[in-house]
Amino acid sequence: MRGFLTIAIVVALFAAVPLIVQSNVVLNFLVVTLMIALAGQGWNILGGYGGQYSFGHAAFFGTGAYVTAILQLHYGVNAWIGFAAGIAAGALAGAIIGGLAFRAGLRSSYFALVTLAFAEVLRILASVAPITGGGVGLLVKLDLRAQSFQFQSRAIFYLVILALLAVSMLIARFLERSRFGVWLIAVRENEDAAMALGVDTFAVKLGAMVLSAAITAAAGCFYVQYFLFIDSGIAYGTWISIEALLTPIIGGVGTVFGALVGALVVKSLGEGAKLVTGDVPGLDLMIYGAVLIMVIRFAPRGLVGALADAGARVARRFMPPRPPVREVVRG
């Protein structure tokens, strides 16, 4: 139960923020940060717990975003239903890409490449297809009512994305405690050994991929409702593939809070860089790249892992280990 309690406390603390801060700039920053954390949590399910490093999670983010937007615009579907359909479409994309890639037995570099390629194909197709608005993109009609999933106040958007993130953290926590999660971690640690022990590695990886894609797609659906605009460069661009993997790796790969911690650190650094130098393109991403390398080099378990290690060190200093029991010399 300890894990669930921690999640509840953290979410409650975050939920209290709009009571103290009313600044739109701060709330906007937090909304975007939590959205990236959600996309990252999706990646974390597959990459962090399952060890399958996707370099193309944009495929799911973009599919969720486009399906939400297209259903509302072209088919007059209610935004909430569009949102759910977007998540389902993302999960379906995950099932197709995962099914093909894992059936072909692609691992490591090959898996990274094939996910990247699918995202790129979708990006190019979305930039020419009429239904996605081609190069112009899609604008969702402004309709600030709760039933259209649009809110006047940023605070409500903030609470919505916080709730979505909370659900994803609960999923991660359940995963850690479930049989499926143990199989998934076994696949990460040694796929051949897991297979030899009777784990259906194909099914486990595919299940993780679908779950992972659905969570990242939810972030894409939210993007559309929040910004009311999507185009191929945003939906299927490399930026989201990179941010989705950056956040859990920096925060702590295969942990419940890694994506959240990573997103807060990365986005704060990016905004900090903008404050120092003005809005010069490139600097924020340059810092992300450098931080990614530094974290992998010096804190391979991410910031959450590094903190846990530091905590353990401090605890050892103040509570010295019990002296070894001396053998009584009988004479």
Partner: protein, 290 residues
Amino acid sequence: MLSPLILTTAVLNGLLTGAVYALVALGLTLIYGVLHIINFAHGALLSAALFAAFFAYQKLGLDPYIAAFLLAPAFFALGYCLQRFIIGPASHGDDRKMLLVTLGLAVLIENALLYAFRADTRTVDVAYGFKSIDFGFTFLAVPRVVAFVAVFGVALVLWLIMALTDTGKAIRAVASEKLGAELAGIDVAHVYAMTFGLGTACVAIAACLLIPTYYANPRAGEAFVLVAFTIVVLGGMGSVPGALIGGLVIGVVESLAGFFFGESLGQVGIFLIFIVVLLVRPRGLFGASA
């Protein structure tokens, strides 16, 4: 309309483009063959090399073809240091971490270039930039023909290094049996770095061959590397002849697809080849095993 002459020209131009693709892919496949990872920083390094070739011409007045003789060793050293001091130590011997570090380097280098030089596109104008050779039935641009010949020269030099030098033997030993090579006293970290250096030098030469007809831009390398991934997968990861033949094939396919279906769908064609090869025959046409 569809005269065989136009078609032949399209094929020939495809072969010329394909040769430069092959050189970029050669660097990638060399690194894969030994380190068993895809170097995601390859594109960013190509962009950096294009800028280096541009500034060598602009500030020092060096002809790109002469600059190649300076940039190749410089980028060899850069690649060596990147692997020896950054990628190697950071990856803790885990392939997946190595992959991530090269991705981090790609993001870092590309955006450092964007920060320093903005998104402007820079071109050099050399005297021979627009000259072409008359082959009787068609004209081919001089810089592209030079590039074609030079690529095969570079491939020959690489083959000689691999076949005749001690470093080449050590690289081949590590590629085929890492643990055995280590036990035989080969410094694997050094061999990894040498290989990474050679791959990066390939990129520097490719940049010098490209700059007379292409441009320098922080994202210029990206387009080439996505194609190079396809070539490496098609030819078989780690296979040098595979990279050369794959490069030429993809060059022709792109040229013909662009000719028949237009530019952007031609690109989709390349990616579809890529995905199909990955899914159906991941070891490629010439690769030994996946």
